[in-house]
């Protein structure tokens, strides 16, 4: 453990205190729009904390998914909320408002201070130095097919977690679709600036996603970051008023959404049928398997995130 300079300590404490302060202001702000904006800023500061903790993969994922896409989802939900409240207030003039005010806030506060003290005590009593699983991962890195240890863990050693995770993402989309989506917002037609921005940025974002996919094998990057960039491209296109061809919205959309988890499931089945453990790749095919799985996953994740932002279930084709 190297001795840290005063400068590094100042930097760390600024980030730490900034995180706490931003979280407090975001949660306590009386206006919801300000709360959402502060939450996005909180996510960006978290990315700095990840970099400080030597976790560039997490930093990329946090900025793209945690700050960017979550911010877009929150702002879209806030817009739907204000229209729903306005519509309901016009229809129902009874004037009954429920303003839930907890008059006794000190009891939860005292309870949580005790919880915080307990958690801080357990954090402080953890041994200050522990190798965790880094030794085992480093020892087995050459048979994993990639040289970035996080990608190796995500796509190879703990591929089971990743399989379940993309299934959860698909499940969330199914949940949103089965709720029927919300009435489509009457957005203003996109002006020339937004139009040009979408046209210029979409190819750049697709290239960036491909770069993240490729570089994730030996440097920070990977399928989730690539999928998040593709999702951002989808959100940008949706905001600029682009809608996919109606023929795409039926079967091809579902195929793209299912491609990532489906391919993963097929691989899992194959490994079991071939007599290996679940998701144990043969070392000589591990690299190409990871590339194929990551590409399918990135496509599915990007499409799922853009579909989550849109929220509306694709309309059934009219039956003649």
């Amino acid at each position: 453990m190297e001795a840290l300079t005063l400068l590094q300590w100042t930097f760390d404490s600024l980030i730490g205190l900034g995180l706490m302060w931003l979280a407090w202001r975001a949660l306590a702000s009386p206006q919801l729009f300000r709360a959402v904006v502060l939450f996005v800023a909180f996510g960006l500061l978290m990315a700095l904390a990840w970099v400080r903790l030597d976790a560039p993969d997490i930093a990329l994922a946090e900025v793209a998914i945690g700050a960017g896409l979550t911010g877009a989802l929150l702002l879209a939900a806030l817009a739907r909320l204000t229209t729903a409240e306005k519509a309901h207030n016009e229809a129902d003039q009874s004037g009954k408002r429920n303003h839930a005010v907890r008059t006794s806030r000190w009891f939860p506060a005292a309870l949580l201070l005790m919880v915080a003290a307990g958690l801080a005590y357990s954090v402080l009593s953890i041994p200050p130095s522990s190798a965790g699983l880094s030794v085992e991962v480093a020892a087995n890195l050459d048979i994993s097919g990639v040289s970035n240890p996080v990608t190796a863990v995500l796509l190879n050693f703990r591929g089971y977690d990743t399989l379940l995770e993309i299934l959860v993402l698909l499940l969330a989309l199914l949940g949103v679709w089965s709720l029927g989506g919300s009435p489509s917002q009457r957005a203003a037609p996109a002006g020339p600036v937004l139009d040009t921005l979408a046209r210029v940025l979409t190819p750049v974002l697709i290239l960036l996603a491909a770069y993240f996919l490729w570089v994730g094998a030996h440097a920070p990057g990977g399928a989730f970051q690539a999928g998040a960039v593709l999702g951002a491209a989808g959100v940008l296109l949706l905001l600029a008023g682009w809608r996919p061809h109606p023929g795409f919205m039926q079967l091809p959309l579902r195929l793209v959404l299912v491609a990532g988890p489906g391919l993963f499931l097929v691989t899992a089945l194959f490994t079991v049928v071939m007599g290996r453990h679940l998701l144990e790749y043969p070392p000589e095919r591990a690299r190409i398997l990871i590339v194929i799985l990551e590409t399918a996953e990135a496509l599915s994740i990007g499409t799922t995130l853009a579909a989550l932002f849109r929220g509306e279930r694709p309309q059934e084709k009219e039956r003649q």
């Binding site: 995180l19 903790l53 129902d92 949103v176």
Partner: protein, 102 residues
Amino acid sequence: MSPAIFYALVGVGLFCLGLYALIVHAHLLRKILAINVMGSGAFLVLAALAKRTANAAPDPVPHAMVITGIVVAVSATAFALMLMSKVAAETGQAELPDRRSE
């Protein structure tokens, strides 16, 4: 105190702050924000504890778990936001009713 333990303590603070806001606020969007802050605090604890390795490279397994967690958090947030929109469309507000007014 190493930076790892410091960030873990910040994570604990964020988690408890988020939990307090979750309990205290009645508005659903604030609750969703609070859950996200709790999640970020938990991830911070995980990744900070991963940095306790003796050499320079941190433990990659908690990093993978945090990336998984971020994606799951955004899925849950998207679903929760759609549920909140449905509640608002039905009742005209996105707040949980106060116990005393029922």
